[in-house]
Amino acid sequence: MLLNRENSGERWRKRRDGKEKVTGELRYLTDMTAEGMLYGRVLRSIHPHARIVSLDVSAAEAYPGVVAVITHLDVPGLNRFGIATPDQPALCEDRVRYIGDAIAAVAAHTPELAEYALSLIHVEYEVLETITDPLRALEEDAPQLHPEGNVLHRTSVKQGDANEAFAGCAHIVRETYRTPRQMHAYMETEGGLFVPESDGRLTVYAPTQHGYKDRMQIARILGWEEERIRVVSSPIGGSFGGKDELNVQPYGSLLALKTGLPVKLHNSRKESVRAGLKRHPMRIEMETGIDLHGRLLAHRVRIVADTGAYATLGAPVLNFATEHAMGPYRIPHVDVEGISVFTNNGVSGEFRGFGGNQAIFAMEGQMDRLAEKLGMDPWEFRMLNRRQPHDPGPLQQEIWRTNGLYQVMEALEHSTIWQRRQARLDAGIEPGSFVAEMSSDKDRSIKSQPPWIKRGIGAALAMHGAGLGYGIEDPAGGRLSLNAAGQIEVAFSYEEFGQGLIATMEIMLIDLFHCDPSDISIIIGDTDRVPHSGSSTASRSTTMAWMALQRLKVPFLEAILQQAERLSGIPAQELTTGIGGIRRKPGMKDIMQPESASNLQQQGQVAESSSNPSHVPDHQIRVYHESLSIHGHQASASNAGQGSEQITSSSDATGELVISYQQLVAQSALDELIFDTHFQYPTTPDEVMGGHFLYTYAAVAAEVEVNTLTGNVRLLDTYHTVAAGPVINPMGFIGQIEGGSVMALGFTLTEDSVMDDGHYMTKNMDTYIIPTIQDMHSSLEVEAIEDLPENDPFGPRGIGEIGSVALAPAITAAIRQAAGVWVTHLPVPRERLIQPLGVGQQEGVSPR
């Protein structure tokens, strides 16, 4: 279904958290203040690599208005952080490894005083060699940045015998791809408020993608029990992976405890650039061979990732890139090796797409080059080589099978943009001179274009894993209750950073209970109030929230309907939840059988206590499926695609009111109406480190206009099709794909955090260029494929990342068609696209 407001019907809903955003009333955590609070500032290294010879904070401490100065000596617990490997000092002891490294922090009565106090801190450095190139870091005589050396992580995938297979290839393409140090560039920079409470606890109001993980890390730094810390982590002004790791939390927490006063920190943009995470720049060498008929035979990949000074999630990012370096293709002989290397260039870490963006750009580039060598249509070539529905995953692991790959490929073939490309080729119009026929093109009323304006269309494919992958703790769960105010309340440890999680949850609850939005309470982002249900990362929260609600709704409904039966005397099977309270079902259709519900609940409990949570047992799948059939809405496979079904206007919602939720809860024991569930994100049963079980598929087509006088590339048209199961929240879905796509446009054309000798040259948004509304083109189509296989127990898949992973190779394929240039480096170097005037079609360029 082409997603837009018109096609979405009642599912197109104003966001629950929207009004306070459009009025400016919403208090972000960085807007918060507290009576008598202090302002914190952090002293960061001025050298990318140096030994700290001496550190003197006495002048700063003595300055009037300064309340506290902290150094590594003030860290009571582990003076390190890092989600996976704690190797980054909260406050450096004797060495700095990048220009964002923190050495001291100050709390003062005003921001100006805190800033001034930093200038009074005296640090004596002994400058060391700056490692700016990962290849230099791997040389024997390079300075070692960490006790274990300069290699953070290595990966290796070997299937068949690539060396031998290359000898039998009819065509081989060798290419080296490079991708930029992309910045998340969330509009709200890092910050928060840190409040020491009178009961000896600490409250941290600071954005993060996983409140419980922050709580664990802060507790580790403070040497505290986790329960003494409350982390409030939503709402968030954008994250995209960038606020997943700790940022200002160590300094705010330590300063608040040292002073006994609330402390506020809020990074300036410059400091955010200097200290914050970026996307891993990768150098990816690929050598890919095919036989005479175009079948892939052998694939060799070498990935070098610049992980910067510290680990954070650099290792899992490399795992992900490695897994995605083979694409959704059948290749008998594979030899992939990856290495993630420490340097003195900032810190690279988690970022939407998580290594997939880089690997997919390279792999899809190989596919286009091979198709061209063979003289085959690039999409036909992909069809010839794509994975078959029953094939294992890229790491030969068991995966959950869907038809997503076939569906997105077919959808793209039928898209207007791809049809336009084919029509031009069929008409014999030379690629690159498409503009010539523009005058006759009805939808593009451009009278005539000068010869240096050239157009091309390209496409790319992505198979993107969701969840953290095999071998990584990936807990999920949630709580469903009727709260004291008489509202159906859900609580999850997920975060709202703009993606629309709250809106999606509201729609899920209305789907399940036919209630009014005012009957609902949604609690997220507060470790004191939510159960541990894992992180909001890896495109996982929508699926996890949906699965948790599927587990919880049966016992919950049974409990409240039985309670309603007790209070009203009407049999539970004649009752249902609706707007404002429990209502009488109109007919006898859709009757809930209490016995079967009870059976389901028991089976569900068996499944939950299963000792092998990583694999979904068959009986569990049955539970999901059967439980779906009780209320039979939206999420089931057979109903997929009926996105506009009007849940709230179903007869269940408006039958005769028997008892309001408030009346019901007033006459009940609250603790009997609370239900928790805990499970794990589904992972592959095969022991493949980082291997995924659930994949989402996408195909992207892009039309570009290249100006060969200036090298400027303009995106004219984009088509995204995504196979991710039923669309719960169409506004959110479109927003994620459009937003991901434009972020990928920046990755492809303009964005790069340029570093020189370990220093950022692009310090703010004037030189770090993200797309503006001027770069947006009027037609960006999003087509959602909602079908899932029958009995699919996982419901809607997350789509937070997949919009951002496949646009780059589609654009570079389009550039090839337009200007005859194969682009290997991102962002696209404009100078490579400039051609001398008067020179006609470039030699040897005849891509199909």
Binding site: R15, D17, G24, M187, F497, I734, G735, G739, T772
Partner: protein, 170 residues
């Protein structure tokens, strides 16, 4: 108060305000800190992103680049001052952003809406080119601008309808 402070007055969201303000302070800080009008956001602080956009005598201005003293006696509108005919109601532009999904994290939204207000005050039927021209000083990292474009187009229709309805005349 600091000796260097000056008596500062301005009309902010329709109300006369008088404050002691040091001449070195930015309008952005006076709004966010002194007046607690945190709907005006802080992001790049170099006038590039538009998160701190306010209207000064009807003109859209980055309040991070504006010193408070430069606004002496001026009429300043922040997002908090933009509402429908009654303070509890949404302005049609806000309504349009809400309906079309013209925001996600919401951090750029107040600035985006203020720039839209300035545009529609000047041009009630802007074409695509004019909208892009008016909003290219406001960065959004979440939406990809699709929802914003749709919201502004819808807002133009709403605002026009409103001014044409005699019953809403003040």
């Amino acid at each position: 108060m600091n000796r260097a402070s000056m008596n500062w007055n301005a009309t902010i969201n329709g109300k006369e305000r008088e404050l002691e303000v040091e001449p070195s302070r930015r309008l952005l800080d006076v709004l966010r800190t002194d007046l607690e009008l945190t709907g005006t956001k802080v992001s790049c602080e170099i006038g590039r992103c538009g998160a701190c956009m306010v209207l000064i005598d009807g003109e859209p201005v980055n309040s991070c680049l504006t010193m408070a003293y430069q606004c002496q006696g001026k009429d300043i509108t922040t997002i908090e001052g933009l509402h429908g005919d009654k303070p509890a109601e949404l302005h049609p532009i806000q309504e349009a952003f809400l309906e079309e999904g013209g925001f996600q994290c919401g951090y750029c939204t107040p600035g985006m809406i203020i720039s839209t207000k300035a545009l529609l005050d000047r041009n009630e039927q802007p074409d695509e080119h004019t909208i892009k021209e008016a909003l290219c000083g406001n960065l959004c990292r979440c939406t990809g601008y699709g929802g914003i474009m749709r919201a502004v187009e819808s807002a133009a229709v709403k605002c026009k309808t409103r001014t044409e309805e005699p019953s809403v005349a003040e």
